[in-house]
């Protein structure tokens, strides 16, 4: 076994890891706060949550949606806090990329330099030894390190478990929550017991990290703050006083970094969205954007009461149209196309192709439900209207006026969402007019909504009235690619 110590790369990655993991935890709490309930079932049935972090009680006699359930957490615990899911997601995804890169660097160097021996349990005897170490700690004494090694048995097992079990587990359960990964690899979701199991396990692993961090810091103090931090600053137990000062300054610096990042994010949300979005969007496009849905849940899997997001349009025209079973409904398809068309609901219902799919719906807030959707494949509408060569995007304009119909959301104006043209060619991208074998309910977007199974729910525009083919979307709204992107700083491409 080589001599195990604290080389510079271990000290540097340890420091970088502290930055990323602290941002991950705070932004993770922001994401949790947007739907502060955890389930062991993919229906996310109201009342079936095993844990809730909200006191809100939802009405039974009035339609409520997820925005009404959202909690406003303080910036002291959440990044950035104050119901800013879009910005919290940007921070979470940027941090996770940094954290994974830092972790990979660490693990590669661990094996390249032979430092992996510090975690390898060479004998079963290490387990009773670790138990003895724990008893020693509980007896207010310090156990000895293993011969020739930097850690005692309990430290060796604990650190090894955090690096090789807890961290990968957190990455794997995080990946389950990507709609694109779920849609392309449904078996991967089932491996964890379902999407909500993965979300719950992801939360429990967060708790495990928090418990580890608290005990780790406590042990640093117990073993001698100056002596222990010196190992991570100078690589050896030297200059404890200087190490103490540097470590405390570094901790203060970390607090200042969080404070500054939070202040900047809340003061300049658009700039934060653009800067962080550049990193996450490019990564997402490379890793997830091309994945295609291959879901086929059974009828037995269908959620009895599919959850709802978004409130129906309150215009008089919509209500009268609904009372008439949408007999006057028309869908206008135009923009940069060679053959603009108008479809009545009857045209869509009698369209030559009628496609049905049973899929998992992923809300950006974290809940899921499984539904059966029937409609017209979007690619066939595209083929009929013949987009011009310069077309790259499709905009779905809806009948919802968010300022009027969705008071829980900030902002106003007609709700719209933009998708990339190539997503229309995915087999499971449809314009749905039926749900679970019956007409599409008003709460789910009647008479027509988009189903785009590799993205989170808000991209699947409901109550659609017009489809426009575009070469550019920068002139629409704030130019971010959708109403939620404009007003609550979500990403345009949301495969996770």
């Amino acid at each position: 076994m080589p001599e195990l110590d604290f080389p510079a790369w271990i000290r540097i990655t340890h420091f970088i890891n502290i930055i990323f993991i602290s941002f991950l935890i705070r932004s993770g709490i922001e994401i949790l706060g947007t739907h502060p309930k955890l389930y062991w079932n993919d229906d996310s049935k109201p009342g079936s949550e095993w844990a809730r972090f909200t006191r809100k009680v939802m009405p039974k006699d009035k339609l409520y949606d997820i925005l009404d359930e959202e909690e406003d957490y303080s910036s002291a615990v959440a990044m950035p806090g104050h119901k800013q899911l879009g910005l919290g997601r940007h921070w979470h995804f940027v941090s996770v990329l940094g954290w994974i890169l830092c972790g990979l660097t660490y693990v590669i160097l661990l094996f390249a330099t032979g430092e992996w021996h510090r975690f390898w349990p060479y004998s079963w005897a290490i387990f009773p030894q670790a138990f003895e170490d724990m008893v020693t700690y509980l007896s207010f004494d310090l156990p000895p390190t293993l011969p020739g090694e930097p850690y005692n048995a309990l430290q060796k097992l604990t650190y090894g478990a955090v690096v090789f079990i807890l961290a990968p587990f957190q990455i794997l359960t995080g990946a389950v929550q990507s709609p694109a990964i779920e849609a392309r690899f449904p078996w991967y979701v089932r491996m964890f017991g379902g999407r909500q199991w993965a979300r719950s396990l992801h939360f429990l692993a967060l708790l495990a990290f928090l418990v580890f961090i608290v005990i780790h810091l406590f042990m640093v103090v117990v073993h001698g703050f100056g002596k222990e931090t010196a190992k991570m600053i100078f690589g050896a137990e030297v200059y404890p006083a200087a190490a103490t000062i540097i470590a405390l300054a570094a901790l203060a610096g970390l607090v200042v970094l969080h404070w500054a990042a939070t202040k900047y994010t809340l003061a300049y949300p658009r700039s934060t969205q653009r800067i962080l979005g550049k990193v996450t969007n490019n990564t997402r496009r490379v890793l997830l954007h091309r994945l295609k849905s291959r879901q086929d849940y059974s009828k037995a899997d269908l959620t009895p009461e599919h959850r709802v997001n978004g409130k129906p349009p309150t215009s008089e025209e919509y209500k009268i149209m609904a009372a008439h079973n949408f007999a006057d409904y028309t869908l206008e398809v135009g923009g940069l196309v060679e053959r603009p068309m108008i479809f009545t609901l009857e045209d869509l219902l009698t369209f030559p192709t009628k496609q049905t799919q049973r899929v998992l719906h992923n809300c950006v807030q974290g809940w899921t439900s499984i539904g059966e959707w029937t409609g017209v494949p979007l690619r066939q509408i595209v083929e009929l209207v013949r987009p011009r060569p310069e077309v790259r995007f499709i905009c779905f304009w809806t009948m919802q006026d968010s300022g009027r119909d969705e008071p829980s959301a900030p902002g106003s104006g007609q709700f719209y969402e933009v998708i990339d043209l190539h997503l229309a060619y995915h087999e499971q991208t449809i314009l749905a007019y039926e749900m679970n074998g019956g007409p599409l309910p008003i709460t789910h977007g009647a008479p027509l909504r988009l189903r785009l199974e590799t993205q989170v729910g808000f991209k699947m525009a409901k109550w659609i009235e017009r489809i426009e083919f575009l070469d550019d979307y920068s002139h629409i709204g704030e130019g971010m690619g959708g109403w939620r992107e404009d007003n609550v700083y979500y990403d345009k491409d949301v495969e996770i």
Binding site: A322, A327, P439
Partner: protein, 85 residues
């Protein structure tokens, strides 16, 4: 196709709707006619945030064959039309 939120009305309920139409002098916004046939009713209190419980939008079709926009509706409370005899 009848959407799942709509309620089909009995003949007596439809008759009561027409009585309310007449009482209110409700006319077609497109052609001004006061003759309608009654279709289904949509309960709006649960679905729409700006509507009170027990409020319905009752679908009316203008009887004037030359009307350019014959489909309209009248807002009624449950107690005004929706009971069985």
């Amino acid at each position: 196709m009848i959407i799942r939120e709509n309620t089909e009305l009995t003949e007596s309920q439809k008759r009561r709707v027409l009585e309310r139409v007449e009482e209110r002098n409700f006319t077609c916004a497109s052609c001004g006619s006061g003759d309608f046939s009654v279709r289904e009713a949509l309960e709006m209190g649960f679905l729409f945030l700006d509507e009170e419980h027990g409020t319905y939008m009752v679908a009316l079709t203008c009887a004037n064959p030359d009307c350019g926009a014959p489909r309209t509706g009248i807002r009624l409370y449950r107690t005004e039309f929706l009971w069985d005899e």
